[in-house]
């Protein structure tokens, strides 16, 4: 039996796991996918918002500003990409100046520092590619970009090093409560790499934390009579090559108008340019399709901010789902007056010991560490756990060959000759980094997992050259046939088994 079980290994579940791993608690994280960071956490804007967006007093506002404050320190302690590049909200109409002021005032009320409203010319002086139509811009130097994969993996790995057990390929199919203990029926995927269980089995814990993203309602409704509903909102993005990465130096938002929230243009921590997202309510919680209409919308709306976005440099497009809460229940810890649009975090009134951390749409990534802190306080109040004496609060990331200078590269190779073998040509990722990712605290067992940890396959050829090599390395290191190597979850094998190919 565990003391705490967390359902979902996205950025929220992984962050909670990391913050609770400070204590003498026996913790497990259950994740239905083959890796951490496989849902909303892997497909978003990668922004650490300054915190002027959310209404003052909401959890969104508080946790965003708090997250924004602690993210940089965490990025150093845990080794993930973070750049405080600043952000701008553009206003294209004199008539909208009032709304920009509102954002400014709200930012001040939320505790955002260094905010300033610029004229169009002032904005163009520091961002020369902005449209001549820009009348004003709210400049937030504390806005930042963050590596969403890096953040999630770092949290999860640090939690794992501190004793949290991550159970991947493990889907929760039912939860029942007996004598104050939650009995969670788990189903291990039959084609998981080296499974530790087969078929269905039960995990138990008195405390359960629901961080199941778009499936947060399904998990919540397994235990609570007060039903909630999460409806996914799909956002499509276009990712441009690193050759376009310096097109803007800051995250460029558009002031929300009646026509919608607008499209952002931002550099990423990997040096690319990201443009998006659209916002479309959909029904299927697996529907991460991109559409030609979505791509057209991105291009059209982005050109409002900057007419010359070099879209011919696009290397991929993708879409992610925001976990939008459309029907919520009252949670006693919720202090906010604007509750219907807020995160839903806290103990479920009719199911003591069961905590929700759901409805984490934007600014969820920015807020993630603060959401974890918040849950940490709730759990501490409940269990009063003792701190571990040997908690390791820091994590060393895999040494990154591409970003290192020649002297550092030489040292990497001295320590590990596999660093002399460059596998991904576009992003200069070595075999040493890939092998380390496979043998990391949360082992990368798929090519997507390797991509998230090392960047291999993320470049302009989109794994055209390195895919056969990555498949071979995964096969060798995991001791499985090449034909069993997957892109992500079981069923996404790259190659056709020989017998099947012959039939």
């Amino acid at each position: 039996m565990y003391d705490v079980i967390i359902i979902g290994a996205g950025v929220i579940g992984s962050s909670i796991a990391r913050y609770l791993s400070k204590y003498r608690l026996n913790i497990a994280v259950l994740e239905r996918s083959s890796d951490v960071c496989e849902g909303t956490s892997k497909a978003n804007s990668g922004i650490c918002h300054a915190g002027y967006d959310a209404k003052t007093g909401t959890l969104k506002a508080k946790l965003n500003v708090r997250g924004s404050k602690i993210m940089e320190g965490l990025s150093k302690d845990l080794g993930f990409g973070y750049i405080r590049c600043g952000s701008m909200v553009l206003c294209f109409d004199e008539a909208d100046r009032g709304k920009l002021n509102e954002l400014y005032e709200r930012g001040l009320a939320n505790g955002v520092e260094e905010l300033k409203i610029l004229t169009g010319d002032e904005a163009r002086e520091i961002e020369p590619n902005l449209s001549s139509e820009v009348k004003y811009a709210l400049h937030a130097p504390t806005g930042a970009i963050v590596d969403p994969f890096g953040l999630t993996v770092a949290m999860a790995e640090n939690a794992a090093v501190n004793g949290v057990s991550f159970k991947l390929n493990t889907e929760v199919t039912a939860i029942k409560k007996e004598n104050d203990i939650y009995k969670i029926t788990c189903k291990k995927h039959p084609d998981a790499v080296h499974p530790d269980h087969t078929g269905e089995y039960v995990e138990e814990a008195p405390i359960v934390i629901n961080a199941a993203g778009v499936y947060g309602d399904k998990i919540h409704n397994m235990v609570s009579g007060e039903k909630i509903e999460i409806s996914p909102k799909r956002g499509e993005y276009m990712l441009l090559d690193t050759t376009a990465g310096s097109f803007v130096g800051r995250t460029i938002f558009q002031l929300p108008t009646e026509k919608g929230k607008g499209i952002l243009i931002t550099p990423t921590v990997h040096g690319n340019l990201l443009v998006g997202p659209t916002a479309e309510d959909i029904e299927d919680k697996e529907d991460t399709e991109t559409t030609s209409a979505g791509i057209a919308e991105i291009k059209e709306k982005a050109s409002l901010s900057a007419p010359a976005v070099p879209f011919r440099e696009v290397i991929t497009s993708f879409s992610g789902l925001r976990a939008k809460l459309v029907k919520r229940t009252h949670v006693d810890n919720l202090e906010s007056e604007d509750a219907d649009k807020d995160f839903l975090i806290g103990e479920v009134p009719d199911s003591k010991g069961f905590f929700d951390a759901v409805g984490i749409e934007s600014p969820g990534l920015s807020a993630a560490p603060a959401v974890a802190e918040y849950i940490e306080k709730l759990i501490c109040a409940k269990l009063a756990p003792a701190l571990k004496e040997d908690f390791k609060e820091k994590r060393e990331p895999i040494p990154n060959f591409k970003c290192a200078d020649d002297n550092a590269r030489k040292k990497f190779i001295e320590n590990d000759s596999l660093y002399a073998n460059v596998i991904c040509r576009c992003c200069t990722v070595t075999e040493g980094e890939i092998v380390r990712a496979i043998h990391s605290p949360i082992p990368a067992t798929t090519s997507d997992a390797i991509k998230r940890r090392t960047g291999a396959g993320m470049g302009r050829c989109q794994s055209g050259f390195c895919n056969p090599k990555v498949v071979e390395i995964l096969s060798r290191e995991l001791g499985i046939p090449c034909e069993a190597v997957c892109k992500n979850d079981p069923g996404s094998e790259y190659l056709i088994p020989e017998k099947e190919a012959e039939s």
Partner: protein, 474 residues
């Protein structure tokens, strides 16, 4: 030491450039190659059709590469394999030599100096993302070259029900290749109203296997969340915009993309070379020197070529010019010289072709439209051919159509799992499946040399299966 010349990339461009510089008397030449063997992408292009211009005979890719590899050995040109170049710097105020930084597992990271550098890294394929194809992002979407590597070098199958987007030569070649390996290719979709591939390849890779080529069609959706389950193909209008209502679904487990190539210029940019947007290669002067002084470029890194023979010719020039530079030193850079990019092939099979007596000749890239008429004595007279081979081909097509095929054979005890092979001469067209099946069932023990007979008198055709590449023992 200071090398005279460092060549980056040991494919056909790099080897031809190095050999050309040697011919001009340049001594200390080093080729840096990132793969485990010289030859570049030719090693996976196991089909024949290379070398008519340079060698006056039709070779497979590996055979073409082997000829250059042998010449490189004969000329004692030094090369390093499994070596990745991470940085190139030309001659400038700070340095009177070119500086190259490279990495391999034997020497770690090391710096080299040279009087000149030739960039010959080749090109890469446009990915699904660059094409903006909507839909899911499952496994099973490959550039045609990646699929080619899997099949021809790794001996693995990336799919068995295949749709191909793009009718460039690699796409056409892969349609035939996947078919010979037992996959079913449902169609090749091409957004343009013509093919960028050669007419001979439309005939011998698609028509021969009844694979439809859909002009003015493109993939408008990819289905399948984990592995590709199918694609939607739509007709497009003259602006290449999909026409609503023309969508048709094709079930498949793999989508291969052959939609264009992009010069690979990370290093050129790193060297500070100015780039030319129209070719996506570096700007060069009439000596093929980039704006980074002492750094030359040739082959597909400069602009995408249609035929390897043209890569070779350009690279010979680059080697020659680099040699003069090495001998004469830094002069005026001069003016930018636009590279002559041949106009793109725009090929179709004439719709009004009378298939009872007309055909496209597959003997060479010309793809002549031939007409074979039978006279009263039963003899054929052939018109439309530019050479005698065409006449022979046309008569064969009317009486006993024949083809050459290329494939791979499993190797036991070799450094790689398979070796490429071909028919030693033409076999009856009707025997292709039988012969391919026989090759598939046969294994060969390493080592293998080019020209080794792997199957004598295959399927009683009187034709042998011969190796087209080398395969060393472990």
């Amino acid at each position: 030491m200071i090398y005279d010349l460092i060549v980056i990339g040991g494919g056909p461009a790099g080897m031809a450039a190095a050999l050309s510089a040697r011919k001009e008397g340049i001594k200390d030449i080093l080729i840096l190659e990132r793969d485990k063997e010289l030859g570049g992408i030719l090693n996976q292009c196991i089909h024949s059709g290379f070398g008519l211009g340079v060698f006056k005979e039709e070779l497979t890719g590996p055979e073409y590469a082997q000829r250059y590899i042998e010449m490189t050995h004969e000329e004692n040109i030094e090369y390093m394999l499994n070596t990745m170049v991470t940085g190139v710097h030309g001659i400038d105020e700070g340095s009177d030599t070119c500086n190259v930084t490279a990495v391999n597992s034997e020497k770690g990271l090391f710096e080299l100096k040279s009087r000149a550098v030739i960039l010959s890294m080749g090109c890469r394929e446009k990915s699904r993302g660059a094409l903006n194809i909507p839909g899911y992002r499952p496994a099973g979407i490959y550039s045609a070259g990646t699929a080619q590597r899997y099949v021809n070098i790794e001996g693995k199958m990336p799919g068995k029900k295949v749709v191909i987007l793009g009718s460039g030569d690699i796409g056409l070649i892969m349609a035939r290749r996947m078919t010979l390996e037992g996959a079913r290719v449902s169609c090749v979709a091409e957004i343009a109203p013509y093919s960028g591939g050669l007419r001979r390849n439309i005939v011998q890779c698609l028509d021969d296997y009844d694979i439809p080529l859909l002009f003015s069609h493109t993939v408008t959706k990819i289905h399948g969340k984990k592995r590709v389950e199918g694609v939607t193909i739509s007709k497009v209008d003259e602006n290449y915009a999909p026409i609503p209502g023309t969508e048709k679904n094709y079930e498949c487990d793999a989508l291969l993309l052959s939609c264009g190539l992009i010069p690979e210029n990370e290093l050129s940019r790193d060297a500070g070379a100015k780039m030319e947007p129209s070719t996506q290669g570096p700007v060069v002067n009439e000596n093929l020197e980039t704006t980074a002084r002492g750094v030359f470029a040739c082959g597909n890194v400069l602009h995408v070529h249609d035929l390897v023979d043209n890569v070779t010719k350009e690279s010979i020039t680059a080697g020659h010019k680099a040699a003069s530079f090495i001998k004469n030193g830094l002069g005026e850079w001069g003016e930018a010289h636009p590279v002559k990019v041949p106009s793109k092939e725009k090929n179709t099979i004439p719709e009004d072709m009378d298939r009872s007596c007309q055909m496209i000749c597959v003997c060479c890239p010309n793809g002549c439209l031939l007409t074979a008429k039978k006279d009263e004595d039963g003899n054929y007279s052939v018109t439309g051919n530019l050479c005698p081979k065409g006449e022979e081909y046309a008569i064969n097509e009317m009486t006993n159509p024949v083809r050459n095929i290329s494939s791979i054979m499993k190797v036991i005890g070799g450094k790689g799992p398979v070796v490429s092979c071909k028919t030693s001469s033409e076999i009856p067209k009707g025997m292709i499946a039988t012969v391919a099946g026989q090759i598939d069932k046969t294994t060969v023990n390493a080592p293998v040399k080019v020209g080794d007979i792997l199957i004598k008198n295959v399927a009683d055709t009187g034709v042998d299966i011969v190796a087209t590449n080398v395969m060393e023992s472990i």
